[in-house]
Amino acid sequence: MGDPITAISLWLDGLLAGWGLAPALIIVIKALLGVGALATAVLLVDIFLVWVERKVVARFQDRLGPNRLGPFGLIQPFADVIKLLIKEDITPVGADRIVYNLAPIMALATVLLLWAVIPLAPTVVGTDVNVGVLYIVGVGALGTLGIIMAGWASNNKYALIGAFRTVAQMVSYEVPMVIALLVPVLLARSMGINSIVNAQDSYWFILVAPIAFLLTLITSIAELGRAPFDLVEAESEIVAGFHIEYTGMKFGLFYAGELLHALTLSGIVASLFLGGWRGPGAESFPLLGIVYFFAKAFFLYWVIMWVKYSLPRIRIDQMLNLNWKFLTPLSLVVLVVTALLDKALVGVQPWVYVLVLLAANLVIAWVTLQILRSRARKERQRVAEPRPIARPPAAPVSSQGA
């Protein structure tokens, strides 16, 4: 009884075959039903995420958050949705109507596409493509496209500047992200997410690749465009960036897409580094796997929120410096070291393998911190040097008293 999804699938097989349908058609119908069920479930979680977001940010800011509607304010997201639905729907003058309306759909749909490859439990896998990691990167690019479309079609300068910033951020942060994602691929000998989760049966990859885990998490936050990387929608500079002109449910789609994207990327990082659905008893009771998966995903989601509500926004030059001068070289070093050690440690005991890789990661981290410290010292000296200060010119001799 621990595997209701396989049971439902078998029951549907029998039912549809009993109606005299061809086997190929049964596969198509089951795939459509599966897509519908998964997308619906994910979007229901998304409604709940609005409540989680508001409640957690309230706690970080020493408030209570929504607490009037229902127990713990649980009905609040429905009130939010109704508010968004009955707001006036405004299309700005000069907007490109089709692209303008397509953009929010793109923003949410690309997030839903990611769930196709995430294994939720040993038997609940959307589709087991053997290029899963690359697929995630590709779908991420489609998400960027939705933001560009929104920024351009709104016919608004702030929106366009937001879109430019998005492109600069996404294109540059894709580099360390892809390199860091190569580390679990290398450890699992496969690009499929399902195979990567299966390869973590004796140890989670966070033990052998903690730096790659952190790099993936940081670049994921950058790809999300959440604080401290939210200069895409910096309120103080460009009002709200790409979604400035959107009202009502169209804005709601961007908002829901952002929240769901955060949970989705948390789930992906959990699958790649924290063992995904793995946990005690998950093999025999696949439903337990779903629980473990969402527990890990929500933990990382909470970490992302913690970062978001603790750190100030960084400037665009700091953002690019962090990427090209810190994350990219570090990810390259981690990848090369992991590859060499992995080749050198063929045939040793798993615990030796884990210990050596962990030690190597710690050494890399220590050296990185030393380099950063010396750079910071130089930077502090540079800032502390006396700088030319503009002084007001000497006041001309006045002749008022004459």
């Binding site: 190929a24 692209v99 690359l134 590709g138 690019a141 479309m149």
Partner: protein
Amino acid sequence: MTALQIIFLITAVITLGAAAMVVITRNLVHAALWLIMTFFGISVLYVLLNAGFLAVAQVVIYIGAISILMIFAIMLTRRVQQDFGPQTNAAWPWALVIAAALFGGLIWIFSGWGNFFTQAPVMGERADPLRQLGMALVSPEQYVIPFEVASVMLTAALIGAIMVAWERK
């Protein structure tokens, strides 16, 4: 007709229609978006051919990098919106003749091919085209030299880009 053929026909119509829209539409950003649609259709065709890696690479490279750079460049130029001039010049009959001749030539070549109704070989459960591709790229008997030459060229381009952008002190 099998389900695969139906999917292929739908994809082919969408891809060809989007490709035609790329040259017909007067708005450059729309042209770029139609081009993305075309690339997406081609990647669906790769999926239908069991070439998952090529399909995803198509999305990552052509949509994720090239098209987005194109849109970026279009947005940064002036007169993004419309161009009301004529869409053809005086030489269009010649272009039509050459295009028709090329199309006829292709049809003529393919008419003698005769393999249209061969079924694709069924891949076994253990077949892993991705692994085979990876092995082929690094095995000395196959493509290691082109692969390495391409890598060296890309590295040279990367270093060149850094040199060009280097701040002269």
